[in-house]
Amino acid sequence: EPEVTQTPSHQVTQMGQEVILRCVPISNHLYFYWYRQILGQKVEFLVSFYNNEISEKSEIFDDQFSVERPDGSNFTLKIRSTKLEDSAMYFCASRNRGQTEAFFGQGTRLTVV
């Protein structure tokens, strides 16, 4: 069964460093999303991406964040200068046209120290 794959599963980075979280969405999907879940809190929408551009973003998704689909299979989230409060589980999701549900990856746990 096709699935969304995220790498790495856990990343530790120093404050101020850049980090790239990687996702391989399901191959024929057209809509891509990043969500995050700070420990003990709810899952929050960050950004949606369609047709090679951001379609919607939340107030969390400030200038420190960027997304990219560098090739036909990967979808990345970059945090330019990480802060302690960026520590969270980051989920990638994808959806196909005509589908109502998004499929989520296993998540990347980012720890900023």
Binding site: V4, Q6, Y31, Y33, Y35, Q41, K42, V43, E44, F45, S48, Y50, S55, E56, F91, A93, R95, T100, E101, A102, F103, F104, G105, Q106, G107
Partner: protein, 114 residues
């Protein structure tokens, strides 16, 4: 704006007993509604969804949910809980227009006692 409330942070149920997890939503029209489950160290797995039609929807693992427009609710139920159902359960509402971002509730952690 969309919002979801899950009033129960933790629920403990005995194995074999029935389960109901509450979810209330706020949305201007009939939304898309979802229940996701997150087992420890795992991602989010879709249990079931509602977007139109029959208000009682069946999902995987023996779960069902009922959409009640008058109460703005979408409660999740299971007639007999198994120990493997212990997990965190998230209700989410999706916009029916645009790019369908999801707004999640704060989650309910289900504990199953022997």
């Amino acid at each position: 704006a969309q919002s979801v409330t899950q009033p129960d942070i933790h629920i403990t149920v005995s194995e074999g007993a029935s389960l109901e997890l509450r979810c209330n939503y706020s949305y201007g029209a009939t939304p898309y509604l979802f229940w996701y489950v997150q087992s420890p160290g795992q991602g989010l797995q879709l249990l079931l969804k509602y977007f139109s039609g029959d208000t009682l929807v069946q999902g995987i693992k023996g779960f069902e949910a009922e959409f009640k427009r008058s109460q703005s609710s979408f409660n999740l139920r299971k007639p007999s809980v198994h120990w493997s159902d212990a997990a965190e359960y998230f209700c989410a509402v999706g916009a029916t227009a645009g790019f369908q971002k999801l707004v999640f509730g704060t989650g309910t952690r289900l504990l199953v006692s022997p």
